[in-house]
Assembly symmetry: C2
Homo-oligomer: 297 residues x 2
């Protein structure tokens, strides 16, 4: 595939800068977003289309970046959806974070039109989207992944092919399960230590030197100590991913009690009014249950 024409559906906080990075890398981009193509994208040369179908008709690689499973379904298969415009050989890359279980069926329906499909959700947030340093975790045929690798490389730094359709989404959920539980671990440990009279700054430093080391202890442990809960990655988005994980685990017939506990602690944070806090705000849930804030005398 030599320099394919690309299309982008969903030009929000994540999709907008990703589409701009495609332009910077020299790709043509036809764009569609519910609320219109934003000014920054138009200035970068993204050409507006009328509908997802129109984007698909104009493109050889069609990228989706929309909020959740029903949005992907609507954009692909709803009125004027991608499926109405897509041509044989086109690759549809869903970079939205949705339920893994939906992806094999999405791939199969597009395959009826001769189109290829990848699930390729990202981590790295709006900062990574702007910088073009996202981690991209892809599921689907390896040869399709290889074909669109240069396109993905203009938006991300770490590109991983994980396995068949849906496993990109599975990997993203695994990523956020680990993230959520590590946040819970750091929040409980720092609150426990602080309430017992230990200096949380020194505890964090001591733990970073040993087997409890993690990027989250480093960055978000510091946020909890500094009382910085401005997003970042919002609790309500973490909740979406954890709910997807719990739903898929239930469907597979397995228990994930640690994930369920973390989900409940995030729900405590939401109950405290924290849906829009950064996910480090899980500390406030633990603190509320302890009547003690980290670092309080």
């Amino acid at each position: 595939m030599t320099t394919p024409r690309t299309g982008f559906i969903g030009l929000g906080i994540m999709g907008g800068p990703m589409a701009c990075n495609l332009r910077k890398a020299g790709y043509t981009v036809t764009g569609y977003s519910r609320s219109g193509v934003p000014a920054a994208c138009r200035e970068a040369g993204v050409v507006a289309a009328e509908s997802p179908a129109a984007v698909a008709a104009a493109s050889e690689v069609v990228i989706l970046m929309v909020p959740d499973t029903p949005d992907v379904d609507k954009v692909l298969f709803g009125a004027n959806g991608v499926i109405e415009g897509v041509r044989p050989g086109t690759v549809v890359v869903n970079m939205s974070s949705i339920s893994p279980s939906a992806e094999p069926a999405n791939a199969a329906r597009l395959a009826e039109k001769g189109a290829e499909y990848l699930d390729a959700p990202v981590s790295g947030g709006d900062v990574g989207a702007i910088a073009g340093t996202l981690s991209i975790m892809a599921g689907g045929k390896p040869e399709v992944f290889d074909a669109v690798r240069p396109v993905l490389a203009s938006m991300g730094k770490t590109l991983s092919h994980i396995g068949p359709h849906g496993t990109g989404q599975t990997c993203k959920l695994a990523n956020n399960m680990v993230g959520a539980m590590t946040l819970m671990a750091v929040a409980e440990a720092l609150t426990f230590a602080s309430k017992a009279g230990a200096d949380p700054v020194r505890v964090r430093e001591a733990l970073l030197g040993g087997f409890a080391q993690s990027r989250i202890l480093d960055i978000h442990g510091n946020r909890m100590i500094e009382r910085d809960f401005a997003p970042g990655f919002k609790i309500e988005l973490m909740q979406k991913d954890l709910n997807n994980a719990l739903q898929n685990a239930r469907a597979m017939g397995m228990a994930i009690p640690g994930t369920a506990t973390a989900q409940q602690l995030f729900s405590v944070a939401v109950g405290l009014g924290g849906g829009q806090w950064d996910h480090a705000g899980i500390a406030r849930a633990v603190e509320a249950m302890a009547s003690h804030a980290i670092g309080e005398a």
Copy 2:
């Protein structure tokens, strides 16, 4: 304190090599252990004493490395205990991992004899004990910590003063709370991903590149994939520390639901016969609940 005479009580898997490292650093060591001074310690020049009291009478720094809270109580205050031999100005350093709440009283009883006290538990396991690279987390007076710093430096690499009496133990519990929950996180995420058809090797690699990175994902995630559950740090020892954390949290009036969930998963592993497995064996508990082993086709 210029090159103090040291004493060592508890010469087991941890204490034995730690006492040898004191000898290598040039300290005299008077030793006592329930089952006698082991050959390796005698060969290194550790002099056997009859009792904890005799060790204390011969030493200016007395180090304890025994299994749990009741053992420390017995060695300090039981028949022929440290308190019967200790002299004013001697520093007793409890490097055993015990309940934080016991430590202020231990310090107070020794202070009646004019002796100083530190709680200074370690992480790093028998490997760190042998190599002299332990992490040492100390609670007590800062000037006492500074006075024995050279002695501690012959056994450990990272020396942290955390706060008043008991906070060394608190920091150690915080360390193991984070460790236990991160192990739970990695076990659930890899089992979930593997059961959903993703390659756990690629999932681990993708996650190491992002915000889910941790030393445990790196080392113990690999152990889970390689099916290596030989100890290492045994599940039954992790259980002891988690039980101490839960007990102290209850006494302080705070909930640590993530820690409690991890403790339950380790109990599942013990129920499966895994008390002697390495703590990475928590994966087998998660796998049992999923009827799926990580990496199984």
